[in-house]
Amino acid sequence: MDVTISKLPFYCVIIPLIASFCMPVLARWKKEFCAPLATLATAAVFVITLVIGYQVMNNGPLAYHVSGWEPPWGIEILVESLSSLMIMLISGVCLVIMVYSFVAVKFELERIITGWYYTAFLLCLSGMTGLVISNDIFNMYVLIEITGISACALVVAKGSRMATEAALKYLLLATIGSGFILFGIGFIYMITGHLNISFIAIELAEVKDTYPILIWTTLSFFVVGFGVKAALFPLHLWLPDAHSSAPSPSSALLSSLVVKVYIISFLKILFIAFGLEIFHETFIRHLIIVLAVIAMLSGSFFAFVQIELKRRLAYSTVAQIGYIFLGIGLGTPWGLAAGMLHILVHAFMKTCLFLCAGAIAYQTGRKQVNEFAGMGYKMPITMGAFTIASFSMVGIPLFGGFISKYGLALGSLEAGIPSIILVIILSGLLNATYYFPIIGQAYFSQDEHEAHGEEHGAKKFQKDQLPISMLAPIVVIALGIIYLGIFPGTALNFINQTIAMLL
């Protein structure tokens, strides 16, 4: 294989890393260059990931050995089709959010923080891409920490009291999570003597009958660790505070991508390192299914009672993480594929919703869900995108959310647990109960403050008073949701190639 192409995955970690360390220097020297350079770096990564995606689709997985050391000793980067899809998603959504933050950062953050905000953003990007493509579990741990710390920095960038408290809570709980993960990695090294996932898989298959209890322990450490990191239901306590108090581009990034990359690495460890046999022999899948079902229902219940829009969206993320874990727990081809597709769809939906929430706060300063009267006429484009994302959240056909829910339903039939379908439908209806009132208010009721003085019942569409760099990302993401709902084939192709390898 061509040498330059096999090095590409390495570049999509190293480019944002270098760019992120240029930011503080640049912020001191020429502040206005920060945003364009950061966008340029993200765009470069996006282009590289597109090339990687094309290569992986046509020529199979790309492997790169960092600084030339062969796998059992050195760090291996392995991009199979699922990872290539995920790095495309990560860099694409990051690019969109980056464009949005041109104006949003000036509006929501203090001027002095701008440079540091981009540092944290790019660090987070490089951590996430690295985490998805790394094939070495200790390297994964380091990248988990990079992602976690920079995610905390993105929360605290707001500088408010709430944000600081939320960030400390997030940091402490995330450290418990990574402590558990590192303990698990230590156990794996103890059992197998390898850190490379492919070699662990070979070794574990041989010795799994010798150390049954130790393997149980390791698995439970990983479930707790990644559960805390990915906000699986009873371990989600940090998520609502952190995601609702962060500035809106950061909440979009945290909610749509950061919690998902941990799920991908959990999937890798669970299915590649431990393998299907251990997955079926232990009761790990029952545990995951039960937790996922509880998450799907209770996350929606909690979201229902929230009055602040961003808090409601944050609790809705808890519920959606349940869907993804349900897909993993089912462990059937359709279930897994739908779970992975839901990562994609949810990333689009949540980015769209959080960006809309930020845009609404930018134009009107409203943050509560009961202040949305007449919003559909004041900001037709933003509310249109909001409506699309909400419909997709509920699972209405033609929108992305429908495909993944339909896939999950098929998966639960495959796994022989048809009662799960009821839970999926119930959760979808619960989603409707907390999204539709917002939309209904926005289109069908009049704003009391502005109704005075105008002739009665005049509902006129006005143009959104948003700068183009805020409006364009929202529109692009909303179109992406519809595209995924009508043509899910390309994404499913990528996912199914990897799943065929796993199952």
Binding site: V142, I149, C152, R161, T175, G179, L182, F183, G186
Partner: protein
């Protein structure tokens, strides 16, 4: 008896587990934020202890190759890995402490219960 002997022989794993539990318990139950950060460090240290212990075999020595001497070498890889872990732990500690300082400036206390009380009065 055999299990007991095994536990006594591998006492360092036991110590690691006990430290881990102490750290986690303190972190989740104490309301003082500085104590939480200290507990975080105890927890991290326990993981490092466990990891380094993996590389040790009974009677093994530092892996410096000497001629014509038959000795057991300790595995240097876990130690090297944990060096990275220690660096991560140090930076997380610094970061957490800086956040505590920031919270102290807002509330004049770093006790979580007191902060909750203050917030409920507002």
């Amino acid at each position: 008896m055999e299990t007991l002997q095994g536990i006594v022989d591998n006492y360092y794993y036991m110590v690691a587990i006990i430290l881990f539990v102490i750290g986690m318990y303190t972190m989740l139950t104490h309301s003082n934020m500085i104590k939480k950060v200290i507990a975080m460090n105890i927890m991290d240290a326990s993981v490092f202890l466990m990891f380094v212990a993996v590389g040790y075999a009974h009677g093994s020595q530092a892996p410096i190759i000497r001629d014509n001497v038959e000795i057991i070498y300790a595995n240097p890889l876990p130690g090297a890995l944990i060096l990275t872990g220690i660096v991560v732990a140090v930076s997380v500690t610094a970061y957490a402490l800086s956040l505590v300082v920031k919270i102290y400036r807002y509330y004049d206390t770093c006790d979580y219960d007191e902060i909750c009380e203050m917030r409920s009065k507002e």
